[in-house]
């Protein structure tokens, strides 16, 4: 990974080579320091009175990076951790190296040329391979408000296979008249934000440092929300090496773990509304022993725990990782004994019969069925309605007719990348009725969220009740 930063110091009464004083790096002597993942070299391809350009070459050692990584836990990493763009692209590792190489310059200090450090100077920056998740346009949106003239050219993925189109890299050139310290801080913060990849290598303390470097200019940045969100996303990212490796065995990629709400559903309010509606239905049923199947991070369970009428709650998920997250989120280990006794977490799967779930008052499948491949739905119905056979089942699922009301959701897309289907109201009713008939339940339907006169509610709910239980 590589970048250059240069100046002609035009309009300044000093030779261009004084730039070396600003950077605290002698143009006559290449320098190398050890940084996370390899070594960083600084040298000057040119350093004359007219022009002075410093180059940073970060020599990444991908093997050492993995070995140094996480000690014993490094075993079983995915192939992607061995073969990746880190040695070539300007990502968070380069940002960290810049911070280490130019710490003093970034703080705006230069005892030899204090006036030069304090004033804007003409600068040219070249980052030949900048990972830019969001395209060249995003680079423009991020850098232009800071006073840069941006020339970002997409790099083709493979010139011999034009059908593949552009890669996620841009060849970035920035020109502008800025203080050097500010320019370095911009790079320091923006490189990882633009990269937007999973930060296997950057510890959370370093991410915090990056955020601090944004003080003073980030708050006024028109894209500050997006910039902050990307940071937060990385900090929450919980890598599951096993799942990724099994996907890799097949040569496929896992869908990105979305937040609780899919990109399409926008606001958090629908999720809250869904939980409230489901909790209301359960109250109405008078259910005291309940299982939340596919509990995810446990938002509904947290809500239900507040209801003292509920004596026993079983939260299941097929993902052990989700259960850990749910326990953490609900502070399960710190709950008073009496509270904890009401709540059990179980790893389970809707396609297998699980006798631990037999005979409850109610089972909730909130936003679960759409994550199951259609051919596996009979197995789901069998495990819930025959094997567990609760007195009542509450199912919610997106109403696909409503998708047209989500402006940010491209037509034909699902609300979440892991959705295997999304049903119209009629499709949901057909499936529900068949299941009810087959297993001896009755079913009624309810809207969740404000009902649109044309396309119905955003979420649909079916309430099944076992016939002899009524």
């Amino acid at each position: 990974m590589f970048l250059t930063i240069g100046t002609d110091l035009a309009g300044v009464d000093a030779p261009a080579s004084d730039f070396g004083f600003l950077l605290h790096k002698n143009p006559a002597r290449p320098q190398a320091i050890d940084v996370t993942g390899g070594s960083a070299h600084v040298f000057y391809p040119e350093a004359t009175g007219e022009r002075c350009t410093a180059a940073v070459l970060l020599d990444i050692d991908p093997i050492g990076l993995v070995k140094a990584g996480r000690g014993k836990a490094a075993e079983g990493f995915t192939l992607g951790q061995y073969v990746n763009d880190r040695p070539y692209a300007a990502s968070s590792l380069l940002a960290v190296a810049l911070g280490k190489l130019f710490r003093t310059a970034m703080n705006g200090r230069c005892d030899a040329r204090p006036d030069l450090a304090a004033r804007p100077i003409p600068l040219e920056i070249h980052v030949p391979a900048l990972p830019c998740n969001g395209g060249a346009d995003l680079a423009e949106r991020f850098f232009a408000p800071l006073g840069w003239t941006v020339d970002a050219r997409p790099v083709p993925l493979d010139p011999q296979i034009p059908a593949w189109g552009d890669s996620r890299y841009v060849d970035l050139r920035l020109t502008g008249v800025l203080r050097l310290a500010d320019a370095l801080k911009h790079l320091y913060v923006m490189l990882p934000v633009l990269d937007d990849a999973k930060h296997y290598w950057v510890g959370s303390d370093e991410v915090d440092k990056l955020v601090r470097a944004g003080e003073g200019w980030l708050a006024a940045h028109p894209e500050k929300d997006l910039i902050s969100r990307r940071y937060l996303a990385h900090r929450r990212y919980l890598a599951d090496a096993v799942l990724e490796r099994l996907a890799e065995v097949d040569g496929v990629e896992l869908p990105e773990e979305g937040a609780e709400d899919g990109p399409g559903e926008g606001s958090v309010s629908l999720a809250v509304e869904r939980r409230t509606t489901v909790a209301g239905v359960l109250r109405e049923l008078g259910a005291r022993r309940i299982a939340d199947i596919g509990c995810g991070e446990g938002a509904l369970v947290g809500e239900l725990l507040k209801d003292p009428m509920i004596g026993e709650l079983i939260a299941t998920d097929v993902s052990a990782r989700a259960l850990i997250a749910a326990k953490r989120r609900l502070h399960y280990d710190d709950l008073p004994d009496r509270q904890r006794d009401r709540l059990t977490f179980l790893q389970s799967s809707v396609t297998y019969a699980d006798e631990r779930l037999a005979g409850l008052d109610a089972v909730v499948l909130m936003e679960v069925v759409e994550h199951v491949d259609p051919p596996r739905l009979p197995a789901l119905a069998d495990s819930v309605f025959r094997a567990a056979r609760p007195a009542a089942v509450v199912v919610t699922t997106p109403n696909s007719e409503y998708n047209v009301r989500f402006p940010s959701l491209p037509a034909g897309n699902f609300r979440h990348p892991d959705h295997r289907f999304e049903w119209t109201r009629a499709e949901f009713r057909t499936w529900s009725q068949q299941v009810a008939d087959r297993f001896g339940y009755t079913v009624q339907f309810r809207p969740v969220g404000a009902e649109d006169p044309e396309v119905g509610p955003p979420t649909q709910l079916a309430l099944f009740r076992r016939e002899e239980a009524r």
Partner: protein, 840 residues
Amino acid sequence: MTIDVPALCLIVLVGASGSGKSTFARKHFLATEVISSDFCRGLVSDDENDQAATKDAFEVLNFIAGKRLAAGRLTVIDATNVQPEARKELVNLAREYDVLPVAIVLDPPERVCVERNEQRSDRQFGSKVIARQRSQLKRGLRSLKREGFRTVHVLDSVEEIDAVSIERTRLYNDLTDQNGPFDIIGDVHGCRPELERLLTDLGYTLTRDDAGRPVDAVHPDRRAIFVGDLVDRGPDSPGVLRLVMGMVAAGNAYCVPGNHEDKLLRALRGKNVKISHGLETTLEQLAAEPPEFRDEVMAFIDGLISHYVFDGGKLVVSHAGLVERMHGRTSGRVRSFCLYGETTGETDEFGLPVRYPWAKDYRGRATVVYGHTPTPEPEWINNTICLDTGCVFGGSLTALRYPERELVAVKAAEEYYAPAKPLHVATAPAREPDVLELTDVTGRRVIETASHGRLSIRAEQAGAALEVMSRFAIDPRFLLYLPPTMSPVATSPEPGLLEHPRQAFETFRGQGVTELVCEEKHMGSRAVVLLTRDDDVAEKRFGLAGRGAIHTRTGRSFFDAELTDELLLRLRAVASAAGVFDELDTSWLLLDAELLPWSAKAGDLLRNQYAAVGAAARTSLPAATAALRAAQATGLDVGDLLASAERRTANAERFTAAYRRYCWPTDGLDGVRIAPFQVLASEGATYQERPHAWHLGVADRMVAAGPELITQTRRLFVDADNWDAGIAWWEELTGAGGEGMVVKPAANLTRTAKGLAQPGLKVRGQEYLRLIYGPDYTEPENFTRLRDRNLGHKRSLALREYALGLESLDRAARGEPLWRIHECVFAVLALESEPIDPRL
């Protein structure tokens, strides 16, 4: 004097302190068979005499006894047991595990007990305690039978106690030493003509009495087993009884009782029985028989044992089926289950009791054969089968040949009795999916494999697999197999090469395997193909509509339903034209194959991971090189950096060239190719013992039959004399950009002195390895570090997964229950979650 005790029972010793129970137990039973309350007191309190610990001690005692009885082990309780409450708990324990409780009372004179206690330093019971215990015992003695003990033995002198010996007798239901072959015959219900025909069809010779009535039937080397319900409804129940009683008496048949025999016996004994369901017919027919015959019938029925366990425990026959925990057990509960099955307490729309579908949840190893519930067609459910095909209702009389598992049936001559509900209604809804239970796959599991012994799966591994299986895999009914991981060869000592064929040849030679085959490693994705011969096969054989499946190493479908069906149709045509179905005499076929190109499945991965690396390298390295040249021109000392950047630029070009070979455009199925290289299984057969030459021959015929779809797997057979040819071939393949080759024992499954040989070792090409180890892996400072590979774990994993794969194939070919197949398939996926270097 000898005391007979059943081989499996709960023996409760009863006697005051000092009566000699522990000595008696030591003398007659294994130390591990005896659980003493003193010992349990010691376990929980460090003091065998701490009476305050009694409650906890008995909880421990009951727990241990329960575990032993569940495992089918004779257990002796060494405690005073002089109080009825204490004995009641033990009787209940015996009932819970369906074993007989036996009481042995030791009651020597009081002074003997007192003396013995006085001799003991650790126990200072007053003689009052012993007197009290003895009086409690005396009071209870007479009611022991009433308390539920099947047999009670009282020994009331020291001499008698010393003289007695214990004989263990086999349970009546234990015929495990009878290995067959058998013909198991379904519910006859008085249909004597059909029974005669069936026995004749099965090869039995009938013996008739002077009146021409059959009284026996003999087969030169087989015996019959009747599942009960010989009588009622049909035209000649006495005739059937006469024949079966004769066969049983002559040792030509076994018979278990059905609910109709049970009721008939009660009626004959004059009990108040509701005369219905065909009993009226039998009673009427029997009235015409002499009284001696009726007495014989009563004695016969009275002597019938509820169920039998045959063939080393592999076969269980009972009238209404039997859950596994009751196999070989004895209790009223077991008898009731055998006669009537379990009912849910509900009745259906015809007023008949709804039967609890115990077979659906059956996970036992024994085959259970039964009758009782009329069905139009006998059907295997989880290794159980019901043979009642409603002969008396105008259906047929069915026999199961064991161990062949063939069904033989004769049609009923007429409908002798109108059924309460139409026969076909019994299974009117389409076949229910075989239900998999979470406990079939989760938790720590041990799987017995035929080729590699017992393999264990850890709970965490199963947990990881559960998510992948549930979220991404196809229906388990089509998922019969997952391919094992494959180990690379030992690292080559040759400079600049990580892998070389010589190490593969050497490794196999070291195990005494010299006949090898080198197979080209295709540049695609591993694919398992389940093919069916006709469109109705899948539904019939696997209970799932469709044509089969094409899935990946982790059980995902390669394509959506439409493309899958289309590709399967083309493959079916090719396999049919190549005569594969005919040759293997099968309606379905499981093939191990490679699906090409890799980009068809891994397009996203290629673009986002491999091509991206190339793009970033191509853009940044030349810029860096140019800057370094400029710096060098100004006289700076950057020579090393420049040389490195130039080499890395070349490496990036090679890396790009390597991944490009895996990409060619596909559109739907256009451009997709299949390279089969092994036949995994077909109906009733697996092929791991057939040499690779045969497998490749089948593949070649498919190539010839469908060259536009099927790609050949090139191969070279190598023995100890032509290693050089193998090496040259590998150099040629990889020199042309090929991925490399796999070296396998030519004979296929190979056992060596040290156990299973690896089924194959991969030898990957130098350029292909750039995709695995990174573009710059050949740089000397990287290479020296990469040579240090730990292959031991990978090899062990490869063998375990191989054995599990073979086991699932064997089970699938034998038509075993779904959960037995799925258990192995799931285990392969679970092992794949092992943290192991993914570059190997």
